[in-house]
Symmetry: C2
Subunit: 426 residues, 2 copies
């Protein structure tokens, strides 16, 4: 265990410890009447066993159906008694349990979280209700064109490798109709063995002596089971062209996926700046070319997506069926001119935007706990704010453009559309 | 002008000033490297002239198409150069311009905001693009069952009084197809006269001497035009029963509206506690009865809505067409038993939840600026946190139940559903 160290920046103290069982704990002291923590365990919907899509999502709900002698109602009452705010849930690659509340309740909140993970009742009679709710969520997704498009895009661009035990990225956390039908109490209980310390990260912000914080976490989460930490590989398929027909849709939705940069790659920061220029504000290239100049689409965006430790670029626009072909042309033209580099003004704006993001991201308790957890999960450590600011200050236009000169997101583009008509390009 | 006063709570200082032109300014000092402000002007989509729905929404976009000698691109670049984060937009009753950024840029951010409001270019050639984008947004709303339901519910439960000059609450900020077709540059420019100091509130959080903060705001926003402040009355129609057919919908969506309590009513806090017990967490009545016990709906919620200075209760659930009738029965049964009061445990949980909300709502810079603005707009002042906490502590179960004994949300309920079949009740 590393000794807690004072950071260089004013009043807060940041420390990262690794518990004997493997759980990494990132702690920051803040003068605050509250606390926030974010526990991230590296099992998400991508880890659902193939053919049993929905396993992680239903299991996570099941965990809250009673624990350590409390029935479902008593457990929910116990959380609500603390007045804590619960967040998190099942994502593609991880399950998060996040809580924020008043300082005095931190220990009780950690204890309840440990009960849910270590001592769940898992009552069999609740399962049909939970799978039924998951089915209802799937039906609601069917009514949302953008959600359907996002799931299908991932299914086509990131299919699971042949023989993979994992279902992968092509289904929502609520699963699939066939996957839900195949769930059994035994299979779900077996899946619970994955949720433990291995690869897990707890980000915690509170006004405590660091030693006392470590003591609390050790006492409550130190006996969390070993767990499993496996990365589901994101085997990207370039050149996908697909159309999801939707005769009744008023809009045509476009989803473009392209390779990007991994978080631990030295080009990560240059890529972030380039994405800021592409899609970071009202002066960004996509917003301007698609929306402001041509009025082609009300919504347009490009954002980084991290899957399997790799970075990808996800671009979306929703347009009218008539204008969808031109919208697509403009999106591709904007991606195609990235290798020609940014202007000095674009670079300055994108860097200012990142600078402000860094400051604001550190501001709220819950946001900070989440950011520390994400840092440890993606970068292996908490990136100190002064270091981030110094990196940004040291970054040059030349560095970003040298990276962009070799970055061609169009070459390996995958394209999925949803709407009443197929696009000429698609 | 009231002199800035130190608040009783530790490091922060809160002051509310009224500028000579009428703008109210709520300022709180925080030790922070950033700033955040939220400028709320009391003209929203409800103030669109009848027959010209979309006026406020399109005008707000138009304001950003150039100001004070900068063209659209230069203005957007100027905002992005600061790295500030823009928020806000057009709501039902107000238009908000919100910015957060680094401390050094506060003055420049205020100056840009003043330029947009006082010295916009309003170029005529941009208007067709903006109305076109608004039409596209309306088409996207058509693809969202929950958005369609929400707009139609408001249209039926809060129709504009006959002869009202205002379009009222029954359309989205993007307007209506016919309203957008009727917009002209002259009408939009005339509408701009509404956006000024009257009824306006600026919430500001920064690390400045209060005197210096007032000086900055006066210099930049002191000459904002007089503006208009009129409340669009929310004339509630009880007993609405309507069905929006959607043959292709996988789900049936239910929207229930009922009268509630106004923010300045002494029953406001008891009502908030009652809503917490009804829908505030996993132990809440609706969540438990609809979702946990019966698995009737994936999503269910009840929340307070404030329109025309009055409070209303909006309840929503999305269910399968088969289970929608039972879902409706359960929702109504839960509303109907509110007059019988809360249990001591429910009261305690709901109060803890509010207590935590108060603490967390004050946490982030932007959240705090927004909360101060909302306080002044709804309550006429910033409610100090210690006062809020003391009020919560002094609240008793007896007080809440005395209020609930006279609160019957079912009597005047309005119900709108959307789905493939009409409900037997509807």
């Amino acid at each position: 265990m590393t000794a807690p160290a004072l950071s260089e920046t004013g009043p807060s103290e940041t420390a990262v410890w690794t518990l004997p069982g493997g759980l990494r704990v990132a702690f920051e002291r803040r003068r605050t009447a509250g606390f926030a923590f974010d526990l991230r365990l590296p099992t998400g919907s991508a880890h659902d066993p193939a053919g049993h899509e929905g396993t992680t999502g239903v299991l996570e709900e099941w965990l809250f159906k009673g624990a350590a002698g409390r029935d479902a109602r008593a457990l929910q009452d116990a959380f609500d008694d603390l007045g804590v705010r619960r967040g998190g849930g099942v994502g593609l690659e991880a399950t998060r349990l996040s809580l924020g509340g008043l300082a005095d309740d931190l220990d009780a909140a950690l204890a309840l979280t440990a009960d849910v993970l270590n001592r769940p009742t898992l009552p069999a009679d609740e399962l049909p209700i939970l799978t039924d709710l998951a089915r209802q969520d799937l039906e609601a997704l069917q009514d949302s064109p953008t959600d359907r498009l996002a799931v299908t895009s991932r299914a086509l661009a990131f299919p699971p490798p042949a023989g993979s035990p994992f279902a992968g990225f092509g289904h929502p956390a609520s699963g699939t109709v066939t996957g839900l039908a195949a769930l059994t109490p035994g299979r779900l209980s077996a899946h619970l063995r994955r949720l433990g310390q291995a690869g897990g990260v707890l980000g915690l912000v509170a006004d405590l002596e660091p030693g006392r914080a470590l003591e609390l976490v050790m006492a409550r989460l130190g006996d969390l089971r070993p767990g499993a930490s496996e990365t589901v590989p994101a085997a990207y398929v370039p050149g996908v062209r697909a159309w999801l027909p939707d005769a009744d849709a008023e809009q045509t939705h476009l989803s473009l996926t392209a390779p990007g940069v991994s978080p631990r790659d030295p080009d990560w920061l240059p890529w972030q700046v380039a994405l800021g220029a592409l899609s970071g504000g009202s002066a960004s290239r996509l917003f301007h070319a698609v929306r402001e100049e041509r009025g082609l689409a009300y919504a347009v965006s490009a954002s980084p997506v991290i899957l399997g430790g790799q970075g990808f670029l996800a671009t979306y626009a929703g347009s009218t069926p008539e204008r969808a072909p031109e919208t697509l042309d403009v999106l591709i033209a904007e991606l195609a001119r990235l290798p020609r580099g940014l202007t000095a003004a674009e670079f300055g704006r994108a860097r200012s935007g990142l600078h402000a993001s860094v400051t604001f991201g550190a501001e709220g308790l819950r946001a900070r706990a989440g950011a520390m957890t994400r840092d440890v999960a993606l970068f292996g450590r908490v990136r100190p704010l002064p270091e981030l600011r110094a990196q940004l200050a040291a970054l040059t236009l030349e560095r970003v453009n040298a990276f962009l000169a070799g970055y061609d997101p169009v070459r390996d583009l995958s394209l999925v559309t949803l709407g009443p008509q197929e696009l000429p390009h698609a």
